[in-house]
């Protein structure tokens, strides 16, 4: 028996570095490349500005997936920022996995200012993956839950 259910639309927070990925997101807009509206972008100067606290905060407040986008390794506007981000996020994601949080809720992608198409494709894929996972139940703070 099929039960009519309201389509689940995950809340996705995307941290994008100002120089590459945010520009890549702009380019996907300029080229009218669609991706779901549940992706909301937060501009940071560099992927190395993303504190693991921000990722956890997003989950706490009800995000279903968090993605961090930065310049490709070697292309960081600040030369080395994304290398630090890569280590930090690798360890953080591994820790969340260790705590039994679904691996697919977190992602790090390198998107250049020229990769508008990649940005849109990445977001489409991420939203699809997180949608399949369903609601974030393991990391939410019930008090912060949207009504």
């Amino acid at each position: 028996m099929q039960v009519e259910k309201k389509e689940f639309k995950p809340t996705i927070v995307a941290f994008c570095c100002n120089w590459c990925s945010y520009a890549g997101a702009d380019l996907s807009g300029t080229n009218r490349l669609n991706y779901p509206a549940n992706v909301k972008i937060i501009r940071v100067p560099c992927s190395c500005r993303v504190n693991p606290m921000f990722v956890l905060r997003a989950f706490q407040r009800g995000a279903d997936g968090v993605i961090i986008c930065g310049c490709h390794p070697g292309d960081c506007h600040y030369t080395t920022g994304n290398y630090y981000a890569r280590r930090r996020m690798t360890l953080l994601f591994s820790m969340l996995d260790f705590l039994g949080i679904e691996r697919d809720r977190t992602r790090l992608e390198w998107v250049s200012a020229a990769e508008g198409a990649k940005f849109a494709a990445t977001m489409n894929d991420f939203v699809e993956t997180v949608t399949k996972l369903g609601e974030n139940k393991r990391l939410e703070d019930l008090r912060c839950k949207k009504q």
Binding site: T11, V13, N18, W19, Y22, A23, A25, D26, L27, S28, G29, T30, R32, L33, N34, Y35, A37, K40, I41, I42, R43, V44, P45, C46, C48, R49, V50, N51, P52, M53, F54, R57, A58, R61, G62, A63, G74, D75, C76, H77, Y78, T79, T80, G81, Y84, R88, A120, C144, K146
Partner: protein, 665 residues
């Protein structure tokens, strides 16, 4: 509580087409702190900006949110607008509802809902914004040019002519670079030395130009307007202030078997040498790896014959420290190493040469005094085969070569082929090519002359193999793609148009300068179209082939372009700093050095400071401080800091978390 104004832009129909701007403005009106929320067709227009300015004044706004296009487009515009109305420009936040909303969502309801959330996030952020004041840092009115080829020389001359002192650092004993090795230039065929050497002399004699030849950049500190550079002057074993360049030492030196790098090893030089007759500075240099005196302690002939008493075997590398306001990179290129190209027998036969070697073979000052003779037996070659794209335009998977087009090879090969036929009408000249690319002024005419007037045989196809034969000839096997046939040509000389690559010194230099490079080690420009002579690192400029392959006229144009940018910088007395930089809260700082370790700019330093503790005692604590003129605001330190003492203006922990909360709410 901030008094916030929200301004929703229609961007004509760009935003209003898929976002209900009225609804957005209405919805955001009820956000905390919002005292006015309105919309307009074009916020960035004169009228739109006036609307914002009036609202700032009328409603005594302390912060504004503009819901419009990307902040990368108009953030600067609206900051100026705010400043004009007396509001601190850093009290402006942009909600990107065009590129990241209206342009990607087709459904009005979806777009409107997202635009409202993005607006809310910007409002949440602006609540936590603080007025920022940009600091100023003084500009040292002196430029450094790294590399003394035609790019560096032209840049230095232009800057010096504008009245600013310039230092050129050149790693070789003389300036001149690759152009000094070239015989004639396309498409005019004028003699390279005739147009280059006067410029070298101009540079040497210019009262504002100082040349550090046989020197290298050892260390770069500082930032735009205020670089501190350590230059290593390699020991020449010759006192350059005394040497007159008479050349007697060179003549008398008993060690004459050193491969001459200026002629690419095709002849020999002595252990003490002057690279070429027009070298600047024209002083001798002792090659310590070849000099008998340096190696065994015996000899010393050059010191004996030197009337100026310039020889000093005890000379050591010395270091100079100088401050600069701007740095120009002009490190140039080299042909790639062809050791891996066994199919062309480059290492097996001396008669397979590179195009640069061919330049020296046809140069009057070269190893053969300009006579085209085969390196193996000194005989006049009758059949010549030129192979283009050796190592250029390769598959990325092909580890031997480069993915890019080296750009200059088509034209110099046409030049070589033409000169060859002109000087030696008895020769047969073949050119194997993939494409002939001639997009330059008078370039295609030049190439067609080679084919039509000089009878050069252009064959579309690649050479598969060059096999040295017992009779001393070279069997060239290639395919003619147009005729669809395999060719075998018995050649006397094969000339390979080797790809060019950035000089090996470029990568470590980029690290020192914190300037970015692409995967091929070419320096990246700040913008590929609009800022082609600037590197993304402020105060670092690009000149010549270090940025990408280019020919002489293009190099000179870029050199002058870079000089213009440098002049534009040096003419300023001070620079406005980016106020969105990190700062450390001393009360929370542990002094642990984590931030310093991840700072790419060396902007963080430590000092021991006395603090009054809560129990009224005092304690000395090590605390970090950020030099706001050096910090570029990446934020790496803010995450490395466990206590959260380090935070970033404009992108503070609390601001970003407020955005997160607004989005997730």
């Amino acid at each position: 509580m901030q008094r916030i104004g929200v301004f929703v832009c229609w961007c004509g129909s760009n935003i209003a087409g898929t976002v209900d701007v009225h609804k957005v403005a209405e919805a955001l009106k009820s956000e905390p702190g919002v005292v006015i929320s309105t919309q307009y067709q074009y916020m960035c227009s004169e009228a739109g900006q006036t609307l914002i300015k009036d609202a700032i004044r009328d409603h005594k706004l302390t912060g504004i949110v503009v819901c419009s296009c990307s902040p990368r487009m108009h953030e600067a515009t609206f900051r100026k607008t705010a400043a004009a109305a007396g509001l601190n420009p850093y009290m402006v936040e942009i909600a990107n509802i065009r590129e990241q909303c209206s342009w990607i969502h087709k459904d009005m309801e979806v777009g409107t809902e997202k635009a409202i959330i993005l607006g809310r996030a910007a409002i949440a952020k602006v609540h936590l914004n603080a007025p920022l004041v940009a600091g100023e840092s003084p500009v040292v009115k002196r430029a450094l040019v790294i590399g003394g080829g035609i790019a560096g020389i032209q840049t230095a001359l232009d800057i010096a002519d504008a009245g600013f002192p310039v230092d050129i650092v050149e790693t070789k004993p003389t300036i001149g670079g690759k152009m000094a090795q070239i015989d004639k230039t396309f498409p005019t065929l004028d003699c390279a030395a005739c147009i280059l050497t006067p410029k070298m002399v101009d540079a040497a004699q210019h009262e504002k130009i100082n040349i550090y030849a046989y020197s290298e950049v050892a260390e770069v500190k500082g930032f735009v307007g205020n670089f501190s550079v350590k230059i290593k002057q390699k020991a020449r074993m010759v006192d350059t202030t005394k040497c007159t360049g008479c050349g007697l030492c060179v003549e008398k030196c008993p060690m004459k078997k050193v491969p001459n790098e200026f002629n690419l090893g095709m002849d020999k030089r002595s252990a003490i040498y002057i690279p070429f007759a027009q070298a600047v500075p024209k002083v001798a240099t002792i090659d310590p790896t070849a000099c008998i005196k340096m190696k065994t302690g015996k000899c010393g002939l050059c010191a004996t014959v030197c009337e100026a008493g310039a020889i000093d075997y005890t000379q050591q590398d010395s270091f100079i420290e100088e401050k600069y306001g701007a740095i120009v990179v002009a490190t140039g290129y080299n042909p790639i190493n062809l050791d891996k190209y066994d199919e062309f027998a480059y290492n097996q036969s001396p008669d397979v040469i590179t195009s640069l070697e061919f330049e020296r073979l046809t140069n009057a000052a070269g190893p053969t005094a300009g006579k085209l003779l085969r390196p193996s037996d000194g005989k006049h070659p009758h059949t010549l085969v030129f192979v283009q794209c050796v190592g250029s335009r390769c598959d990325v998977a092909n580890e031997k070569g480069k993915s890019y087009c080296s750009k200059i090879c088509c034209m110099y090969t046409a030049k070589h082929a033409m000169l060859c036929r002109e000087k030696y009408p008895d020769t047969d000249v073949y050119v194997f090519y993939i494409d002939v690319r001639t997009p330059g002024k008078n370039f295609d005419e030049f190439y067609r002359r080679a084919v039509e007037e000089y009878g050069v045989h252009y064959i579309k196809g690649m050479v598969g193999k060059v096999a040295p034969q017992a009779d001393g000839t070279l069997l060239v096997q290639g395919s003619d793609l147009i005729e669809g046939e395999q060719l075998k040509i018995k050649a006397d000389l094969v000339v390979l148009a080797a790809a060019i690559e950035p000089d090996k010194s470029a990568r470590p230099l980029a690290t020192m300068l914190t300037a970015s490079m692409d995967t091929n080690d070419f320096f990246t420009e700040a913008h590929p179209k609009l800022r082609p002579v600037e590197s993304p690192t402020a105060g670092v400029f690009l000149s010549g082939c270090c940025q990408g392959p280019k020919d002489i006229p293009e190099t000179v144009s870029q050199a002058s372009g870079a000089a213009a940018k440098v002049i534009g910088l040096l003419v300023k007395d001070s620079l406005t700093c980016n106020p969105c930089v990190a700062h450390s809260n001393e009360l929370m700082c542990n002094g642990c050095s984590a931030c310093e370790k991840v700072c790419p700019y060396g902007a963080i330093s430590y000092e021991d400071k006395e603090f009054r503790m809560p129990d009224r005692t005092t304690a000395i604590r090590r605390v970090a401080s950020v030099n706001p003129a050096v910090c570029q605001g990446c934020g790496a330190c803010t995450v490395a800091c466990p206590s959260g003492a380090m935070d970033l203006n404009g992108f503070s922990n609390s601001q970003i978390m407020a955005e997160v909360d607004a989005i997730c709410k």
